[in-house]
Symmetry: C2
Subunit: 628 residues, 2 copies
């Protein structure tokens, strides 16, 4: 990989050939003013190439647009100096990322391959006048003679319809699909196919998120992930968050509409996965789904009225396997959906699947599992015990309730660096397009940058006497101009208001108060945490130093942080490959002590103390430089 050297700071960074000089500078910790996010329109990111070969857009004065210029080998670049600060490289933002959890703890080896549905081959003796038992009795007899002695078999009535043909078309060789039972000594015959179809044994693992639905096609024999597809949850049209969707579900046939939508989405993903991999839905043996409590209720078409109001009671939290066709999923009759169990209204199957999927319940280390989504669910524990809570953090870190907040799609500002002297921003957007708004990682990096450079004080207020035009009294109160209208995709200024900051402080405060409350409940403190696992892809983008700086994450040695990716999907996949993993989810859901923070006075106390950057108690954040 080419090495770029940035002067005058003399900072170097290795870059992949398709990374432009602006991104390289960000990773090297070099500030280059940039407003348009990399779209090449603001012309602020001018740099001079001192040696080496580049390709890109050269300006009339001999400079190059950093956001549109790519190295063609080792390159030395000079960044125009605006202040003394520029002479030295700043802390590299890229250096404090969490480590990928799964790379260390491979979910494919924690459990023996043993799906909840298994396929076995049987060779039955052909009936004679002396041995003319019924087809079903013959099948049962053969099962009992194998390694299933003492097992009670239930049989799907649908099996009977195809049984005579299956037995005879396969010349009395059949492949039987057996579903595990609630007890070790029971099984259920769900399918009998003619001949040997043991090798056609697919599963689908699904994470149904409030916003996104992701599905993986799995080979249940080889443990391979054959494909993955994602789609937006089409319920979004009926409400951005679970609360508004539950409101929608109360009216008329709202619930039925929501169920239909998510099932349509599932059908679409399944059909795409099948086509893409050139396999038939007939090879499908099972589906596993992890989803939060509300999404699980919608999927099954269960009443959510009582989930919505105190005391927040779900219809069910642990589920029997559901016949997929019964809820409208377009698969053969035998296919069951195995659902990850929920703990409570706002700690759902996605969290339980995640916790077991990443193996917290397998190891002695005290782990804090954090899902910074709309609710902000947290789990604290290890192999011996677990406590969980939903923090009602709100969707601020997903861009919700933030004036120019948006989802992490093309044009979203994903990284912002604030120049410590000039307070000018260095903005990178997803896809290098003109900025449309700010997504979660951008929000955190912006908030941290503004606080670290003293633009914001500990209370989350802009310094009124900063002397920068970027900070101004806007229509919604004081604000920082991140991108001027001239460089933005909308033509409007993209700003970050004090109200936005307040929302973010509330959100991170709720999370942190949650950590403290759960820890306190077991007589422990932050320092006792052996590790922190961040759920969601968010965790991989998050700059740990920044997240600690704003008080969203505890100030622990950075090597204790891991990101898990879509841990809910990892859990769903584990549940497909291993019946035991699914069993562990049920155990975990029962073992987790759930704290209802809305009714917890200790939480309220902590929350109030957390409404500062990073916290009223500076001792909790020893590594944060309190410049403010």
């Amino acid at each position: 990989m080419p090495t770029i050297t940035f002067l005058p700071a003399d900072a170097t960074v290795e870059v992949p050939p398709d990374e432009n000089l602006l991104k390289a500078a960000m990773r090297a910790g070099i500030h280059v003013n940039a407003s348009c996010g990399g779209a090449g329109v603001c012309n602020k990111c001018r740099v001079f190439v001192e040696s080496g070969d580049v390709a890109g857009e050269e300006l009339p004065d001999g400079g190059w647009k950093a956001c549109a210029t790519f190295p063609r080998g080792d390159v030395t670049v000079r960044v125009p100096v605006e202040s003394e600060m520029d002479r030295k490289a700043l802390a590299r933002t890229g250096s404090t990322r969490a480590v990928a959890w799964i790379a260390r703890h491979d979910d494919t080896v924690r459990w023996r391959l043993h799906p909840g549905v298994s396929k076995i081959r049987l060779n039955l003796p052909e009936p004679t006048l002396q041995d003319h038992e019924s087809d079903l009795a013959r099948l049962r007899r053969e099962l009992a003679q194998g390694h299933f002695q003492g097992i009670t078999f239930d049989v799907d009535s649908q099996v009977l319809y195809s049984l005579p043909a299956s037995l005879r078309n396969g010349d009395w060789n059949v492949t039987v699909s057996l579903m595990e039972g609630r007890r070790k000594d029971t099984r259920r015959v769900i399918r009998v196919e003619p001949g040997d179809s043991v090798s056609n044994h697919l599963g689908i693992a699904v994470d149904i998120g409030t916003t996104t639905v992701s599905a993986q096609l799995l080979d249940l024999n080889s443990r391979e992930i054959l494909g993955e597809r994602s789609d937006y949850n089409p319920q979004v049209s009926y409400g951005e968050d679970v609360i508004s969707r539950m409101e929608f579900a109360r009216k008329g046939d709202g619930l039925a509409v929501l169920q239909e939508k998510i099932v349509e989405c599932l059908n679409g993903l399944i059909s795409e996965l099948m086509q893409e991999n050139n396999v038939s839905v007939d090879s499908l043996s099972m589906i596993t789904i992890a989803a939060n409590t509300v999404m699980t209720h919608f999927l099954l078409g269960l009443e959510t009225k009582f989930l919505r109001a105190q005391p927040y009671v779900p219809v069910a939290s642990r589920f029997m396997p559901v016949r997929a066709v019964e809820i409208g999923v377009d698969v053969p009759h035998h296919v069951r959906i195995f659902l990850a169990p929920c703990v409570a209204s706002y700690v759902g199957g996605d969290i339980v699947a995640g916790v077991v999927g990443v193996g917290i319940n397998h190891e002695p280390e005290l782990t804090l599992f954090i899902d910074i989504g709309t609710n902000g669910e947290i789990v604290l524990g290890n192999q011996d015990w677990m406590a969980c809570a939903a923090c009602s953090a709100g969707p601020a870190f997903e861009g919700g309730g933030i004036k120019h907040g948006m989802r992490a799609t093309t044009g979203a500002i994903e990284v912002v660096h604030i120049h410590p002297d000039t307070f000018e921003p260095m903005v990178l957007t997803i896809g290098g397009k003109k900025a449309k708004g700010i997504c979660g990682s951008g929000i955190i990096s912006l908030l941290a940058g503004l606080f670290m450079t003293g633009v914001l004080d500990q209370q989350g207020k802009y310094k009124r006497d900063l002397g920068s035009e970027r900070v101004r009294a806007g229509s919604d109160g004081w604000e920082y101009v991140v991108v001027e209208g001239a460089s933005s995709a909308t033509g409007q200024d993209i700003v970050f208001t004090e109200a936005d900051v307040e929302n973010l402080i509330r959100a991170k405060g709720a999370m942190f108060a949650g950590y403290l409350t759960l820890l306190e409940s077991v007589g422990m403190g932050i320092e006792d945490l052996d590790r922190v696992i961040l759920a969601g892809n968010f965790g991989s983008y998050l700059d740990l130093d920044q997240a600690v700086t704003i008080g969203l994450l505890p100030d622990l040695p950075r090597d204790r942080f891991f990101f898990a990716g879509n841990s809910s999907l990892i859990g769903a996949r584990a549940a497909a490959f291993s019946w035991k993993a699914l069993g562990e989810m049920n155990e975990a859901s029962q073992m987790m002590t759930h704290f209802d923070l809305s009714d917890n006075s200790r939480f309220m106390d902590h929350y109030v103390s957390c409404l500062f950057l990073p916290h009223t108690d500076r001792n909790l954040f020893p590594t944060v430089d309190f410049r403010a």
Copy 2:
């Protein structure tokens, strides 16, 4: 009851007030010539009233039509003498009826009342912020705390849809319907109703016969039979017997049509029973059905192709409870159909239900259970062992394959007495209408009468030199004229041909050869039989002496014979009232050794010996007077 004295024989009989003098004479063993069956048209049944008061039709010569005259107190009647034989009363036909089995062995007490579905009331604690488990978990917790410790509960997914409303509408008092499982330590929650609905707990027991379907509405709390309805099996339009229906089922959507028809019939019976008793189908907890193997397959829509051909293999012989709605029965979701298990292709759930229903498996006495239907199924055994067989007797005793044979409906000749000297018949029809044909009991009494009076010889041939105009060479060979065209409903002579006799001898021969084969298989003989139980209503009409005379029943002391009525329905009812009874049926079906007589050389030997009236071996029939 009035007493009638018949002169000159001086025979007396007590009669109910609505019984005419012709019927009274038949019961008293007095022959009165009568051709029209009691329709009052042949004028042959003239009698003279010597004392007492009668009401009816007086003839110009001062005589009365016996078939249209009723006693109004004690009456003495003189029958015109045609021969010396008339002077003495003949053996009373009514005196050798089988005793009702159920009167002795009440099926309502053999098993403790314990239906396969039970209703229990639960009072659940209302959820609070501290106790906010899911509705389902709350229900499970309460069940586990009661007398269901250690029980694994499955839950119908449909329960979840109504659960929140049921719990809250009943103010946390609910009635839970629990279905027994295949194991003692499992149950299934199939319904949760708000409040206390324990008293609404109905069952329906059904016997699906090839010809007739009978259903009873049962109160599962009080063990009462609330009502009974019967209907013809509408599949009759697609084939009289199981063979022709299986042929129909092979073509196009034949199987689906047959299933639809029987389900329509069930729906009709259920709806009539509900309306008649002013109850709602919502109170229905379960349905039990006993049917032969083919009818059971049609009900479930199972392939019958392999039932039809060697080696005669059913798809299934023991069945899991079937959700009624799944096969189109119009009842609530929770209602399951519990099916009586079958033994083999031609020994079905009707027989197993009958055998257990009458309690053969409960008593040490060696019992022969006979169902003289189309197939002629027989079971031999006691509490320790059982053997069974289907005799392929054919439908002759139901009137099938008999020139003027018909079902036992209005106008069918049900009793015939042959005058031993004049060979004139005394004919009674069902409903006292003009004769249309001869039903089963009429056929037996006719055959026995013709043999006893020497009109037929032991080979089943008419005596050619009898000197009676009743015996003649007809268009179909030799025949006996039972009713002349002038007195019949059709205007045609009703005759009984030698071909009819041959069919009957084959049919009874197959039955008897069946008894002997099963007995021989356990080293026993006819004399070892402690009792004979006749299934079907047929058994209550049957004159035992006559049935023994023709070799249809073994020549045992008549007090060893019992009739069970619709034993299949009795069994279905027992299965509804008692889960244990249903369990015994499953045990019985597995314990029964099935003999395939079509493949049995001993059976063939016996069969050949049985093709005589009553049998080649006279020692087997010591009480039969071989006049021939």
